[in-house]
Amino acid sequence: MIALLIRDLKLGTRAGGGFGLGLSFFLIVVVLVPFGVGPEMGQLSAIAPGILWVGALLACLLSLDRIFALDWEDGSLDLLATSPLPMEGVASVKALAHWLTTGLPLVLAAPVLGVLLNLPQAGIWPLIWSLGLGTPALSVIGTFGAALTVGLKRGGLLLSLLVLPLYVPTLIFGAEVARRGAMGMEIATPLLMLAGITCGTIALLPFASAAVLRVNLR
Amino acid sequence: MMPDLGKYAQAVLSSYAVSIALLVVLVAMSVWRARKTRRELTDIEQRVRRDG
């Protein structure tokens, strides 16, 4: 399992591995939004937490199809399925690797990009907390979606369509934490809900992902 | 015969129109596809029986 994690991280960070692409996409979305909605600082600062969350979510989303597709194409997935690793373990490790290469950088970059959108000072820590707690759920749910569409040609857009509705609860609670934080309100309740969702998905979804992967390998 | 719908006539009528149109489309599509597959299946079944 650790071997798989290390390999995935190595592959992610070597040339063409896609590390940083999610981050750049995040950056670009955050930069595009002011072009779209206009440059007034007051308005931007009001929507900043929401936009940051939506941007992070989209960046996450677009890197999902790499989770299994490359291993599927070169046959590694078949070999992993016949290896001693349980499929559930493979799915979990893949999700973890995805989070480490995509989610974690997003969490770290978010405060910096928050400045671009004039995010209030008070909102920075809640933003980091909410993203830090929420992005693991995004990775795990996304791994499930990637497992569903592995083997489909150009499944990318379909993957987005399948995964996005699943992202809704995470997004709502996460953005709520960030928004309340930015307004200086109390954030314990949504944060707790967010933590609950993350724990629940981490505990249960890998089983669904593994089942789906097995079906897809047949 | 037409009941007096008052100032909301447009809303009521358009919602009836939209819904009934959508239902008709759904039913028509279903029936059309049912007919089509039934026909195609008969063709293929005949061909398969003939060719063994």
Binding site: G75, T82, R218 | -
Partner: protein, 205 residues
């Protein structure tokens, strides 16, 4: 240890491909599957390796005893040859990739990124993985594709060494491997008969 397969039926894409396949393989023996294109060799091997469930029949050995190598080698282009092998060694919980490198004459290439190998060298790397798994039953699908004559001989001697240690090997191939001692099974006679079109059930046939 023995691999007993009885009355196996396998399907691909929902269509039964082979049925009634049976054979018996004891430790130290190899079985070569033969048959025309599309006969179902790949499907049979994938079923044996546990990648897909059989339609019917019995496979008398745990899939954990098998190591599978398919058409694709599962090689990561950006990792070096050594890193590729070491990864699989750790996954299968074995140590030391040197014997595997030696068996396929890959030491000179050990530090090379696997993406820069020629097709034949890639294939040799894929086969070296089998040595690394440490599993007794090798299930190999067309292992010699794009190998030149020397490499085929290398492969044959690797298989022989494996058999000598009490392993088994199942191979699907179109060419002659120089493994005279291996049993041969032609899958063509096991081709599944198309079910009668009146049988409107299960798979709708």
């Amino acid at each position: 240890m023995e691999l007993i397969v009885r009355d196996l039926a396998v399907a691909r894409g929902g269509v039964p491909v082979l049925e009634g396949v049976g054979f018996q393989l004891s430790a130290g023996a190899a079985l070569v599957l033969r048959g025309p294109n599309g006969a179902g060799k790949t499907t049979l091997l994938r079923t044996l390796a546990g990648l897909q469930p059989p339609l019917a029949g019995h496979i008398g050995l745990d899939r954990d005893a098998m190591a599978y190598a398919g058409h694709a080698d599962g090689i990561k282009a950006t990792l070096s040859v050594q890193e590729n092998l070491e990864f699989w060694a750790r996954v299968f919980g074995t140590q030391g990739v040197q014997p595997a490198l030696e068996a396929f004459n890959l030491q000179p290439l050990a530090a090379r990124a696997a993406g820069n190998l020629s097709a034949g060298q890639k294939r040799r790397l894929g086969l070296a993985r089998m040595v690394v798994t440490g599993r007794p039953v090798w299930v190999l699908d067309e292992p010699t594709v794009s190998l030149d004559v020397d490499a085929v001989a290398m492969f044959a001697s690797a298989v022989r060494a494996h058999l000598a240690q009490g392993g088994m090997a199942l191979l699907a191939t179109h060419i002659d491997l120089g493994l005279a001692e291996a049993q041969v099974l032609d899958v063509a006679p096991f081709r599944a008969r198309p079910p009668s079109p009146d049988d409107f059930d299960g798979a709708f046939l």
